[in-house]
Symmetry: C2
Subunit: 181 residues, 2 copies
């Protein structure tokens, strides 16, 4: 069989200059997950804890790229997930997410529908920086935003159940402190 | 809560210039799969058909990036996978794989262990261009190379079983035609 590739395509086989930030946005678009989990926490006055994270999983035998992602962002932890033989890189610190992770995806945006998840995630991180997750009215808005993320994912607690419990707390906490009229 | 991000990080929120080839290598590294399937085919003299492909799957609600990948490579088909609500882009033509797909990943290499799968895939495509998949001895080598790909994936036919059947064909086909001594 003759070589079917025209001569003009038979260029150098050496690697060109891969742009690492663009590559990482592509990798995270394929394999990463922006998550905002909301779970009960009795020690918090508002009764619920908000935890934003970005995680990327990979088969254990291919985890070197996660180390590269960790080095690129300069934050997050690598840990094995024994349930399915994968390794996960995860960034959970609000400060690091706002300082190191979110700006990257503003500069090198995701190109799939996952970009919408990122926008909601970045909005929630900013609201948390203003302490809105610590008061019922602010947390209700955060729950509403988080409920629009990852529509195909599973949720441990239904958003409407969280909001209902916060409305009860809102009446119990805010009115006696702030309103006299 | 005070804004914890130092002033020097508070730059423009506009997107920089994402390098699309690098982004696509990252996306394929996370979500793509280089496959060489080998399955029985009675109409072929050698008894087995070799089909290389690159595929990328995505949830149906996030499939726009697959359209971008199709446009970038200028080949491949988009089709829904009804079994799991995903959409798949798949390139299967040997000519298109060699002309349009393989050169991209030489220029913008994968950075995970999936790069090893790509190298085996590219080697097999070159051997097929020389017709080695059409004779038992050449196909045995292709089966050996393919057996090293995707170590965590499932295989419909065990490589050693394919090779054993090819050894029988090799004795039956090659000796009477080529050897008199």
């Amino acid at each position: 069989m003759a070589n079917p590739i025209p001569a003009q395509y038979a260029g150098s086989r050496t690697a060109r200059e891969t742009d690492l930030p663009s590559y990482i946005s592509g990798y995270v678009d394929g394999e990463g997950c922006f998550t905002v989990s909301i779970s009960p926490r009795r020690t918090l006055r508002v009764g619920w804890e908000v935890r934003p994270s970005l995680s990327v999983s990979q088969n254990g035998d291919r985890s070197e790229v996660l180390l590269e992602i960790q080095q690129y962002f300069g934050c997050g932890m690598l840990r094995p997930d024994r349930s399915d033989q994968t390794v996960k890189w995860e960034a959970r610190s609000l400060l690091e997410l706002r300082l190191l992770v979110v700006p990257h995806f503003h500069s090198y945006p995701l190109r799939s529908g996952k970009h919408r998840d990122f926008e909601l995630f970045a909005d929630i991180c900013e609201r948390m920086a203003r302490g809105q997750h610590l008061v019922p009215a602010g947390l209700i808005e955060i729950v509403r935003l988080a409920s629009q993320m990852n529509p195909s994912g599973k949720r441990a607690y239904r958003p409407d159940a969280i909001i209902a419990s916060l409305r009860i707390r809102d009446e119990g906490i805010v009115c006696p402190v702030g309103n006299n009229g």
